[in-house]
């Protein structure tokens, strides 16, 4: 594949360029910043796509926003002439291929043309700069051979990708010495599973020994039961003996005792009966002595008290009370009447004596009334007379006051003169006035004007409206106005006296008229007042003269004196006093009567009191008399009852005493009977016999009881007491033995239960099986993973081996060629380029010295690298016929070596296209027949 032409639409700084390349060698020259690298990138990126944004490579999108992209015109041995066009589109750019036959293609076809090569592979072989050359020392055989192999084999990429993917996968599945990969983890898990299983298994192994132990325990338990039975038996017999032994001893003792006793007959229930009799006897004796004591103590009896008189008094109680209340009532009445009498006496103002002497008969009363009437009338007349006199006096006084007041407003002397003058002047003034009036009529001109105007207007309106009456009236008015106007013009002058009068009195006519009136009035009133005064004086005088006498009054006063009443008292009062006197006398009578009654009652009560005092045997007061009587009465009754009771008791005691004495003798008789029956002489003897017989009975009972007990205990081995330990010790021993066995049994039971539970649990425990299954599952997982890993491992191993094979076949020829070029380039200074056993490059100098590539000088190192690259390129001529793009890689070469280089390339360029970018002017001159393209030139000249 050779690039014939670059057509740049827009790429970096280049725009609308067309650059034609030589089919063998093109030197592209440009100073720094001229855009060489841009051109180089244009070629690479057009072939392999624009870098995407996340790649770390530069995009050359035009900054000024022009069209992005361009074409490469190539010629390929397999595909002929093809135009590869890449423009802006998707991230890597949109590709269109134009084939010679007119067909088009895109990415897939481009990929074919590029022989599945990617950018990295391309750059690693066909495109290099000085920087890449310097990296050679780090390249291992492995990488080199990869590069080599990559060059020749299609499908390599896929395989390589697969390999790296598998390697990655495998790393997650298994690592020889890892922890995290799945298999490694799983193995650890399996390990722990296994341990768990071991634990389970060892637990299961407990089963058999446990079962054996359970059986053993069962056997031992049976033995224990047997042993226990034996001990129990022995112990029981000892116990029986221990129980029986004291019983037998006792039985024997009782028999002995019974035999020693000699008792004849004993009355049935003798002791109890005897006791009872004795009890009764002592009780009776006690009662007798008590009764005797009581009767001896009784005092002599008093005689009874009398109550009959008192009872009679009590029967008359109400009489007494009536007496008392009557007396109280009378006394009360007396006091009331005395009070009334006293009140009236003080009203009358007389002492009792006088009052009683006054005559209060009805005739007297009538006389008094007549006197009173006469005196009243007389007094009435006198009063009327006095009132009239007082009136007249008041009138007189008023009249004189009025006169005085009137006189104060008497008109002055000037007024009286003025009035007189006025009476003379008045006619004169009237004349003057008339004259004046005529003159003053001229002064009505303006009025006339109006009258004339109105008249005229009225005529006009009347005529116009044909209202002739109006017109006529108006005409009249007009004429009148006119006439008056003419009249008014005449003026007359008045006489001088007239003018004088007028000046003095004109306008005061009313004033003077009023003054005259006033004076006249005054004089009239004065006369009236003086008359009035005189009349009043006369009347008073007449009234004062007519004084009257009072004869009736003195007669009345006389009568009163006779009566004893103060004569000055009013007539009404006198009547009342008269009535009061009458009442006083009546009250006196009542008082006397009441006094007599009271005396009688008091006497009666005293008698009563005396009777009572005698009856009660002590002096008594009137107040609370009957309470005292009643107390006395009940006291007496009580003491009488007591006496009665004491008497009865005394009789009773006497009777009882008799009874008890006879009872005592009977009891003594019975006692004697009992004694006789028991053949006892004394009571002590009797009781002793009783004790003995009871004891005998007791002994019989105990004997029977002991026999029954002995029977219950059963057979008792005789002679036990003789052998060995004491029975108690023996029992202790047995008990201890049993306790031991019991303890053992408990322990065994507990153990058995424990073991049984464990074995049962082991039997029913499914966990072990679960674990086992899980373990198997894990193993399966492991197997699967192992298989996965094995497959991947097999593939990668196979890939590697295949690669190695290829390398073995291919590498030597490449190295051989490289060695040849290297020799040439160094001018035979180095004889050989080899790979050392570690897989690194080595060179052999002409003198046989070996150097690792890193040890070489910079230029020599670069020559070695160039040799390898060129050798690779040559070896790939058929499979990957790409142009070689170099970016000034030879700057370190001296002239001689550069010449060697040029010679070599010249040799190779026949078959390979070389595109050489340089900024060194010398370089472009060094190539004899290269087509040199100056970047600066194209910038200037070539424009589409």
């Amino acid at each position: 594949m050779k690039i014939e032409k670059l057509v740049i639409y827009g790429f970096g700084k280049h725009q609308d360029r067309e650059i034609v390349l030589d089919s063998e060698l093109s030197i592209i020259y440009g100073t720094n910043e001229a855009g060489k690298t841009t051109l180089q990138q244009f070629i690479v990126q057009t072939l392999f796509g624009y870098p995407t944004k996340n790649q770390n490579l530069r995009r050359y999108e035009p900054k000024n926003g022009g069209k992005y992209g361009g074409q490469l015109h190539i010629h390929d041995p397999d595909f002929g002439r093809v135009i590869i066009e890449r423009v802006k589109g998707k991230a890597a750019g949109d590709v269109t291929l134009y084939f010679e036959d007119g067909s088009r293609g895109s990415d897939a076809e481009l990929k074919m043309i590029l022989r599945d090569y990617d950018r990295a592979s391309f750059e690693s072989v066909f495109s290099f700069s000085i920087h890449e050359l310097q990296g050679l020392e780090n390249m291992s055989e492995e990488e080199l051979s990869r590069t080599l192999l990559a060059s020749g084999t299609t499908g390599m990429d896929a395989i390589a990708q697969m390999e790296s993917r598998l390697e990655k996968d495998m790393a997650t599945v298994f690592k020889k010495s890892g922890r995290n990969p799945e298999i490694n983890q799983l193995v650890d898990e399996l390990k722990s599973f296994e341990n768990e299983l071991k634990t389970y298994r060892s637990r299961i192994e407990l089963y058999e020994p446990y079962m054996a132990r359970i059986r053993e325990i069962d056997r031992r338990l049976a033995d224990i039961s047997e042993e226990e039975e034996t001990i129990d038996h022995a112990m029981k017999s000892v116990e029986r003996w221990l129980q029986a032994e004291p019983l037998i001893t006792k039985r024997d003792a009782l028999t002995l005792e019974a035999n020693s006793m000699s008792i004849s007959s004993m009355p049935v229930d003798g002791r109890r009966r005897m006791d009872k009799l004795a009890d009764r006897l002592s009780e009776t004796a006690a009662k007798i002595s008590l009764l005797e004591q009581q009767t001896g103590k009784t005092e002599p009896l008093e005689p009874k008290k009398h109550v009959a008189e008192i009872e009679a008094l009590l029967a008359k109680e109400s009489g007494w009370h009536r007496l008392r209340s009557e007396l109280a009532h009378n006394q009360h009445e007396m006091a009331k009447n005395a009070d009334e009498q006293n009140r009236l006496l003080s009203l009358v103002g007389m002492d009792l004596e006088q009052a009683l002497q006054a005559d209060i008969s009805l005739q007297n009363e009538e006389r008094l009334l007549a006197h009173v009437e006469k005196a009243d009338r007389e007094e009435e007349e006198q009063r009327f007379h006095y009132r009239k006199l007082a009136d007249e006096k008041a009138k007189l006084e008023e009249s004189s006051k009025e006169l005085k007041f009137f006189l104060a407003s008497e008109p002055s002397e000037t007024e009286r003169q003025a009035a007189e003058e006025w009476l003379a002047i008045a006619p004169k003034l009237a004349e003057a006035k008339v004259a004046g009036q005529l003159q003053s009529a001229q002064n009505t001109k303006s009025l006339l004007g109006i009258l004339i105007g109105l008249g005229f207007l009225g005529v006009v309106i009347g005529l116009w409206q044909e209202n002739y009456p109006l017109a006529a009236i108006a005409g009249l008015a007009f004429l009148a106005g006119g006439w008056m106007f003419i009249q008014g013009r005449k003026s007359a002058t008045l006489p001088a006296d007239y003018q004088q009068v007028l000046a003095a009195y004109s306008g005061r006519e009313d004033e003077f008229t009023a003054l005259i009136e006033k004076l006249a009035q005054y004089d009239r009133k004065l006369d009236g007042l003086l008359d009035q005064l005189e009349a009043s004086k006369r009347k008073v005088a007449s009234l004062t003269q007519g004084q009257q006498e009072s004869s009736a009054k003195s007669a009345y006063q006389m009568f009163l004196q006779e009566l004893g009443i103060h004569s000055e008292a009013g007539r009404k009062t006198v009547m009342e006093l008269f009535y009061a006197l009458r009442e006083i006398q009546a009250l006196q009578t009542i008082l006397q009567r009441l006094g007599n009654e009271c005396d009688k009652l008091t006497h009666e009560m005293e008698e009563w009191l005396e009777t009572a005092s005698v009856a009660c045997g002590k002096p008594l007061a009137a107040d609370g008399l009957y309470e005292a009587i009643r107390t006395e009465y009940s006291m007496r009754n009580e003491s009488n009852a007591k006496l009665e009771k004491a008497f009865e008791q005394h009789n009773e005691h006497q009777q009882e005493l008799e009874q008890f004495r006879s009872l005592a003798s009977q009891i003594e008789h019975e006692q004697n009977m009992l004694l006789k029956h028991a053949n006892a002489d004394t009571l002590e003897q009797f009781y002793r016999f009783c004790d003995e017989s009871e004891r005998l009975l007791e002994i019989h009972k105990q004997q029977a009881f002991l026999e029954a007990q002995l029977e219950g205990i059963g057979d008792v081995e005789a002679g036990l007491e003789i052998a060995g330990d004491s029975p108690a010790e023996k029992i202790e021993g047995y008990k201890a033995g049993l306790m031991e066995l019991k303890k053992e049994r408990h322990a065994l039971f507990a153990e058995k239960a424990d073991k049984q539970q464990m074995t049962r649990m082991l039997l029913s425990d499914g966990e072990y099986e679960d674990k086992l299954q899980q373990f198997e599952e894990k193993k399966m997982e492991l197997a699967e993973l192992a298989k996965r890993w094995s497959i991947d491992k097999a593939i990668t191993a196979a890939i590697r081996q295949t690669m190695d094979d290829l390398k073995d076949k291919k590498l030597p020829s490449v190295i051989g060629a490289a060695q040849m070029y290297f020799k040439k380039l160094t001018g035979n200074a180095y004889s050989s380029l080899e790979i050392d056993p570690e897989g690194f490059f080595e060179v052999v100098r002409a003198d046989g010295m070996r150097f690792h590539i890193a040890e070489l000088s910079q230029a020599t190192k670069e020559q070695a690298y160039v040799s390898l690259r060129l050798s690779l390129t040559v070896s790939m001529r058929d499979s990957n016929p790409f142009p070689v793009i170099m970016d000034d890689p030879f700057v370190h070469f001296d002239r001689r070596r550069l010449q060697h280089m040029i010679n070599l390339i010249t040799e190779l360029q026949i078959n390979h296209q070389f595109i050489y970018f340089t900024c060194h002017e010398a370089m472009k001159e060094s190539w004899p027949n290269a087509s040199v393209i100056d970047v600066a030139d194209i910038e200037r000249s070539v424009h589409l």
Binding site: I159, F174, L763, E769, Q773, E781, L782
Partner: protein, 405 residues
Amino acid sequence: MKGIRFIHAADLHLGSPFTGLKGLQREQWQKLKDSTLEAFDRLITYALEQQPDFVLIAGDIYDGEDRSLRAQQRFQQGMEQLDKAKIPVILCHGNHDHLSGNWTRFELPQNVYSFGATVSQISLDVRGMEVAIAGFSYGERHIKESMIKAYPEASGSEKFYIGMLHGSLEGEKAHAVYAPFTKHQLLEKNYDYWALGHIHLRQQLHEEPAIVYSGNIQGRHRGESGPKGFYEVELSKTSTQLKFVQTSVLQFDDIKVDCKDVIHMNELLDACTKSAREFIERYGPGAVKMHFVNLDAEARELVLDISDEELKEAVREAVEEMDEFFLVQEIAIEKGVHTAELSPLAEEIIAMMDSWEMREWKDVLKDLYRHPKGSRYLEPLDATAAEEIQAAAAEKIRRGISNGG
């Protein structure tokens, strides 16, 4: 002449776990875990119903190390049931329950006769007929030497001679060598029946006299596929009738899923459930490897488009709906006629693996198989495993490359 009727069972492996099952739900596991015990119960139930003259158990009643007490108890209870039914049981211990193991043993009832570590012969009276049974139990884990020579030859034709032997045919490569014997050696003894144990695959090595492996009563992993059970044998001097009685509760197997015309996922899942249903109807619960067959280009695209794990998950979920337990352990996709074109390099790589001998395989995988801790839990790498890996690797390369890598 009258004959005898007995049951020949072997390799009960009671209570031993399932292997190769992964990702079971807890309830699924609960259903599964008792399946060996259930299978054993079926055996006992059958014996109680059918009243055979006796029962032979040719070794490996349980796995020595993994035995659970429950399993042993169950066995003991089974034996007691037979005892009550007066059915004698003759058993020998195999390599998994050999006599020297220091594990718990249950006392077995009187009807059970257990052979000792050396070959011996016992005589049974079966309805007046004498049956001589010879056998031995494993005294230890490994019996490498042949025990057959010690078996007494049959003498006289009155009795029935039966040999019980837990071991493998000489030269059998797939199994480790245990008490090896040859068919010829057995036939030489002139026995009427050879009741063999140890090999879990049911098989008859010889017709008359019958030399029979009854196989185990319940498969425990994919390797033990198909129906499992025991033989009921009717033996007369003239003929031997074998009747296989299935006991397996769950069956491991391979089933095919016809993917013809499958385009969409739900069609594929329907096809899977259909196959599963057919299987369940025939065999009951199962754990299977599904083989997708008859895939056309679209079906292939469908299944290749999703990862194995996803596919398995989807199919599992689809068949989980079944009433019976049904587990899809693995899915295999039939190779297409048109495999994607591979680059010469990829072909070269596959060829490279092809060329590897066992030695090289071991070398390649040594990192894992030499791992001090991990290798213990792995099955040893053998030719079969290597082949499997190779096939899977090749498939992976093909798919990896053709999927555009």
